[in-house]
């Protein structure tokens, strides 16, 4: 197809002038400008992005690394990042790591080769080496909930504490005293942060309550397994909080299958407030993490570093807030009270 040279010839000007018309980077007289514009039309000229990036050293691509787009936590986040990037004229290259650090490395390497303008590492599994490499290549980076901001590295810090504390206070106000927690895989930082927030809040209220922590995989199945461990453990807690909605939903499904009704027999609270939380039966009481905001801020942080290279990245705190729906209810009376879990009814799934 036709290049800038063809356009220049057609318009009877130099390629520099065409470039300036296309990019609005210098004044060009009206007469010449319109001649160039006509030539662009005539040649159906589309600038070649690679040549452009090569010459200017700036690609207008953002790399987005997430763990698993099929996990309902991510789509809204991706959407927000994509929207914010689009508005600023950036394209987003999506990297789905599948929780595989090696794949993440591979992608980051490709990002560097593509000279991406910035990388949003919105995932937990990432390697020190990777980050060093990004730093060495002077690529702006924004993390989710990982360490402090650094040179050209911003951080989105989720305020887990507030939402989780609100959730626990809500449960306490409903009379719950035995609250278990289903955590995520402990090797993921976000899982650790959530668990920590839970423990802190619980410790404050019940300094000597049992720990009651189980672990899942952040997926539905993990929630199911954790719930069946809880069921097997004998004495049922009156409430269960899960580190994410998926596990909460899995737990509810397992409880139901065992004839334990939610919220009558046990209250369940989730975290994230994914789209389906409002639609499940019962609608899930949970903590809202504003994924849209998160995505928007991720891009903003990157843009910030782009306009101030050689500077410290920024630190943004993302608020969370508690949302009451239908999966929590007043605690059932204690085991020796009158109300007990009814006889188990197997519900076919």
């Amino acid at each position: 197809m036709s290049s800038i040279k063809d356009v220049a010839r057609e318009a009877g000007v130099s390629t520099a002038t065409v470039s300036h018309v296309v990019n609005n980077t210098r004044f060009v007289s009206d007469e010449v400008r319109s001649r160039v514009e006509r030539a662009i039309e005539a040649c159906r000229y589309y600038p070649n992005a690679h040549a452009r990036s090569l010459a200017s050293g700036n690609s207008r691509i953002l790399g987005l690394v997430i763990s698993d787009i099929a996990n309902p936590f991510f789509p809204e986040l991706v959407k927000a990042v994509e929207t914010a990037a689009f508005e600023r004229g950036y394209d987003v290259v999506l990297s789905n790591t599948n929780y595989d650090a090696e794949r993440a490395s591979h992608y980051v390497r490709r990002f560097i080769e593509r000279k991406v303008a910035g990388v949003a590492l919105l995932t937990s599994e990432l390697d020190k080496k990777l980050i060093e490499e990004l730093a060495r290549r002077e690529v702006p980076v924004v993390f989710l909930d990982v360490g402090e901001a650094g040179l050209r590295m911003s951080n989105l810090r989720v305020d887990y504490e507030t939402g989780i504390e609100e959730a626990i206070l809500h449960l306490v106000s409903l009379g719950h005293r035995e609250i278990s927690f289903i955590g995520g895989p402990p090797h993921l930082r976000s899982a650790r942060r959530r668990l920590e927030a839970f423990r802190n809040a619980k410790q404050r209220l019940f300094p000597d309550a049992a720990d009651g922590v189980y672990f899942g995989d952040f997926k539905i199945e993990g929630g199911r397994r954790a719930a069946s461990e809880i069921l097997a453990g004998g004495k049922l807690p009156t409430a269960v909080m899960a580190a994410n909605d998926l596990m909460a939903l899995g737990a509810i499904s397992e409880f139901r299958a065992a004839g334990v009704q939610v919220p009558r027999d046990v209250s369940v609270v989730g975290f994230d407030d994914i789209a389906f939380a409002a639609l499940s039966e019962p609608a899930l009481t949970t903590v809202n993490l504003p994924l849209g905001e998160l995505g928007k801020y991720a891009v903003e942080a990157l843009m910030e570093t782009l306009s101030n290279p050689d500077q410290q990245g920024i630190e943004i705190t993302i608020p969370t807030h508690f949302i009451v729906r239908a999966s929590t209810a007043p605690a059932r009376l204690s085991p020796d009270g009158t109300k007990q879990a009814r006889k188990a009814v197997r519900v076919k799934s």
Copy 2:
């Protein structure tokens, strides 16, 4: 950072040799090769993808256009596309149109500028002009369910008929005779194809049944609205099929809110088999559309055209199959029989 020249100097060879080592594109003696490899390490050389694309005219980027990543139909599709692309060394640029044709055009234009190796247009809102432009620029394209394959244009044709027919036969075998349909927005081709498949199957079985078609927006809310129209219509059908799971779920939620129980009072069937279909309460009976396959084939079709440019694209048929879960049950007796819808109980949402 260091370029191929630095590596060449360091290794005492020409840039051509370095290039051949990096790309394995010609034989290089072991001695020279290892010298080059050592130099690459020493310089921490990462090839510049833009220079590469410019020189070779091939970008190893795939453009993926979808309507809305937040619609649970898409994540799995995106994941499959991304995975297949990754395996072949391609990066995926994600374009979320938000059902906006103009935004789609904008993106396609960018794709052309980036000289993408191919575009997967897995969405319904697309403009004739766009497609002409892609054809003119000789970009391989794969469509979802749009027209025939053409020069460098492949088509993934979903076999809606089979799955929908199975669904209807299932309903009929349960004694259902009045089956309504909640269609998608009629301006979307996929919505029309689904509706058509439904009408054909129904016509065949009940040549003179009432049409009973309502329209939604492919989202939960549209399902709710359609359900309330159905409720307002007086005589309730014994079964409702929706053009996608989201609307089926919305309809169930609306029915429940009105005290109409699913599947006792009305059976509901969805389409797509999104991840949450299995998890909803009741678990949704639906038609499975293998999104993973679809994504995989999309990339395969593109690769096919890449290795045979100047040829007709390929046509792939994607099968669908019916899945029974818990949202369908034998038809309740006709309105003048003994069993009637119980008194309406408002359920708080």
